[in-house]
Symmetry: C3
């Protein structure tokens, strides 16, 4: 058994969960927040048999798209020759950040 911890964009979470449950897999959803952009995102816990990990990763690849995010500039910089307002910076937010962890024991009670 492996535990897949996938951090995905909120806009992809609904479709991703449906695709995962349609294939008969179990999934639990956590509402989380990105440390850098401080925007809400979604973390999924997906426990699967070892030989099914790649199938679930394929579903994540199909559904989760790369997006652009805007990092609001730090406060304007007041220098000798006037005020300088740094332009907002566009960054790329990946489709998913995925950690795969070994599960010692799995119990359904």
């Amino acid at each position: 058994m492996k535990l897949i911890i996938a951090i995905v964009h909120d806009d992809d979470a609904g479709e991703l969960i449906s695709s995962i449950t349609e294939k008969g897999y179990g999934v639990t959803k956590l509402a989380t927040t990105g440390g850098f952009l401080k925007a809400g995102n979604t973390t999924l816990l997906i426990g699967v048999q070892k030989e099914k990990v790649d199938e679930v990763l394929d579903i994540i690849r199909d559904v989760c798209k790369t997006r652009k995010g805007i990092v609001s500039p730090p406060a304007p910089i007041i220098g000798g020759t006037g005020v300088y307002v740094p332009a907002p910076v566009e960054i790329t937010i990946g489709g998913a950040t995925v950690f795969i962890i070994d599960v010692d024991r799995f119990e359904k009670i």
Copy 2:
């Protein structure tokens, strides 16, 4: 050290947390959502010494009960001979889904 990740029904969470802390164990609660029924449930993180894992599993077995859930039918199906409304399907929701993970290092700062 092992980390127990237990996904339980909201109605069992309060009693389960009390039973675990009364025995002197540490526990952290996450409000989560089931992927299939889309209903709220509770995920507990319980870090325990390896030889105490079975004692905590016994507490979970004592407290967490199996329940029935209703899966609302998909939309009515409109066919040649009229409208067919599939009956709601009753499914069984287990007492707890438990992942036990090995902890490399544990630090209290």
Copy 3:
């Protein structure tokens, strides 16, 4: 790759996240609840290369302070000689409770 799961006090979370992202590390925040005091706290997921774990632990040590918490006494005890109201008990809440877990595979999709 290691996954650091750090449970910290809400009051330290903002500064801790900034210090971690300033060093270029990724971090995801979960709003959680302590099992014993039933007060809100924060759980951080921080995926880092193995040789960077100690640097992140140092950041956590710098930022997270030990605090006092009050455990409200259980209900007053009515005995033969009158009502006895146990005094509130002061306990120490550590700076951080940290689990470090081995990651089998890490994927950026």
